[in-house]
């Protein structure tokens, strides 16, 4: 047991688990899988992930994999409708929120991860709302808007890194 794991709480925050389970359940319901198979895959994957990430340091690092695989299955089988797109994006955000609420870390991880998650949510929001509002031939514009927001964020990241690199090189000089 690593020391950082020992530092943490025994379980995660039940609220984030519930949010992720509800989002995955709804995504499963609007998805293309028959009956309750979709919600079962989504929530089952999340439950397995919650169990796995309490299994020591390796589980803490990669424990989210079952939940993400469940998300992958639901996404690839879902029909291309606005509700599936919305719940797909929300499910991914909810899973990330649940990942931030790591039992091996100090409490309040979800709260501290609010800014990064909000920027991801913004990109999804732009993409989905534009895709919903615009008529069918222009839906690609929505996706393009989401991707543009993503590219801007990546660009901001690299700008920050460059500024940091310059600051550290001038400090060492």
């Amino acid at each position: 047991m690593s020391a950082s794991f020992a530092e943490g709480r025994r379980g995660g925050n039940k609220l984030t688990f519930t949010v992720a389970a509800v989002a995955l359940g709804l995504f499963g319901l609007v998805g293309g899988l028959p009956d309750l198979l979709g919600p079962a895959i989504g929530i089952g994957g999340l439950a397995v992930a919650a169990w796995a990430r309490r299994r020591g340091p390796l589980g803490t690092e990669y424990g989210a994999l079952p939940a993400l695989v469940g998300l992958l299955v639901l996404a690839t089988t879902a029909p291309t409708v606005a509700s599936a797109e919305l719940f797909g994006g929300l499910s991914a955000l909810a899973v990330l929120l649940w990942v931030a609420d790591d039992p091996a870390r100090p409490a309040g991880g979800g709260r501290r991860a609010a800014l990064p998650l909000a920027s991801c949510g913004l990109a999804v929001g732009i993409a989905w709302s534009v895709a919903l509002v615009l008529p069918h031939p222009s839906q690609e514009v929505g996706l393009a808007g989401g991707l543009l927001a993503s590219v801007l964020l990546v660009l901001a990241y690299f700008l920050v890194r460059e500024a940091e690199r310059r600051a550290s090189s001038s400090a060492s000089a």
Binding site: A6, E7, L68, A123, V124, Y157, R161
Partner: protein, 431 residues
């Protein structure tokens, strides 16, 4: 020694970030292949999250200086410390991973108290046996709340020296050693004080302890008179640590030497406080000796030599130890031999030391509590085997008793046998 990491850590991705990006890429590919937007909507947050997490993290290398100390008694080791430095409000996501001493067991998990620029930590371990060890500084890194990016935290990281030895050794310093050898360059001290050689009689102070009053002189003179003593060295002690490999199992020998070293450290540390003149020799293939002396500088030299004593590659012949010691020390010095030698009985150093004129006292750390069964025997047979091993050891030690008193050190956290013997060196047999 203070170790400062040369450069602050650069930002790097964790395995979880690669997992998210990989899965996001698979989803994006699936979206293209299926001509469906849904996987793309799911992929978008997964692909963006690592970059977003890095963007909101600390924008420059983090530094925090460590100050820490060791507490606890006996086998319990409690380490408390704090990391202090400009963390820019990211202290809540600082991860600390302490390095436990070898063989220790966590008794109190890591606890952290975080504030804006200070992170305090406490962790407890139980040591399996007496130890002198240098605990490496804990590893500190910042990790974003999503666990996708991380950055090493640099700064001053002094290692922590831990000395744990049997508690009785702290009282050994109060025991007066009788044998003092006058060396040619010695100048006797003429200071007077409450203990030492008798010096004369003086008027008693109002708060004079009753034990120091000379009642006969008081009766003769009709006023309270007290004894005065010359403060001088209370004895000489030569400590010989046997660092020869003996059993064939080098790991076992190293463990035995580890706590033998801790015991020697405790004895020497305590006796230095009572002005005993101490010499130290480590015998492996050859003898490495420090001369008899006292004082702070010599104390540091001896303790450093004890800390750095290592198991030798080859075992030197026992007579070489005795002959070599004659070159460094005058015969007659009380010689404390700490030896876990379990090899050929004819290679015991004690008889040779006796023949060369050094009155020895042997402390023999027992390997028996460290030995584990092979699993080939059932519980009853295992018990019998242990008893036979114990009998064999007792027989071997009883042979050594012909030459020197022996302290069988089988309870690693107690050296009561040694303390008892030093209090009454001629009356008690040591078990």
């Amino acid at each position: 020694m203070s170790a400062r990491e040369a450069a602050g850590g650069t930002l790097r991705w964790t395995g979880r970030a690669y997992l998210l990006v990989g899965l996001g890429t698979v989803l994006a590919t699936a979206a293209v292949l299926e001509r469906s937007a849904v996987p793309l909507f799911v992929a978008l947050p997964l692909l963006l999250a690592p970059f977003a997490a890095a963007s909101f993290g600390p924008g420059r290398p983090m530094t925090a200086d460590l100050s820490w100390s060791a507490g606890g008694l006996g086998a319990e080791l409690v380490v408390a410390g704090e990391l202090r430095g400009p963390m820019g409000g990211h202290g809540a996501d600082l991860l600390i991973e302490p390095s436990p001493p070898p063989g220790s067991v966590v008794t109190s998990p890591l606890r952290l108290a975080r504030s804006r620029d200070v992170v305090r930590f406490t962790v407890g371990w139980r040591l399996p046996e007496p130890t002198i060890a240098t605990v490496r500084a804990p590893h500190a890194r910042w990790q974003d709340p999503l666990g996708l990016t991380e950055r090493e935290v640099s700064g001053s990281r002094p290692p922590l020296q831990v000395e744990r030895y049997p508690a009785e050794l702290r009282r050994v310093g109060s025991i007066r050693l009788d044998r003092t050898i006058a060396l040619p360059w010695d100048t006797p001290s003429h200071r007077v004080g409450p203990s030492g050689e008798f010096h004369g009689i003086r008027s008693a102070a109002p708060d004079e302890p009753w034990g120091r009053i000379n009642w006969r002189a008081t009766a003769r003179s009709g006023r309270l008179l007290a004894n005065d003593f010359q403060v001088e060295l209370t004895g000489d002690l030569l400590v010989v640590l046997d660092v020869r490999p003996s059993s064939g199992d080098r790991a076992l020998d190293a463990r035995l030497l580890g706590f033998a070293r801790a015991g020697v450290y405790g004895i020497v540390d305590a006796l230095f406080h009572s002005k005993v003149r101490i010499g130290y020799a480590a015998f492996g293939e050859f003898v490495e000796a420090l001369p008899l002396s006292t004082g702070r500088g010599h104390r540091v030299r001896v303790l450093r030599a004890i800390e750095t004593s290592q198991l030798s590659a080859v075992a030197g012949p026992a007579e070489r130890c005795a002959f070599s010691l004659r070159r460094f020390y005058r015969p007659g010095i009380t010689t404390l031999v700490v030896s876990s030698w379990t090899g050929d009985p004819s290679q015991e150093v004690v008889p040779y030391l006796r023949r060369q004129g050094f009155p020895p006292l042997l402390i023999s750390p027992s390997p028996l509590p460290m030995l584990e069964g092979t699993g080939a025997l059932d519980a009853e047979e295992e018990l019998l085997a242990r008893r036979l091993e114990l009998v064999e050891r007792r027989v071997r030690l009883s042979d050594t008793w012909r030459y020197a008193p022996v302290v069988d050190w089988n309870d690693y956290w107690s050296l009561e046998g040694l303390a008892r013997f030093l209090r009454r060196p001629t009356r008690r047999r040591v078990s």
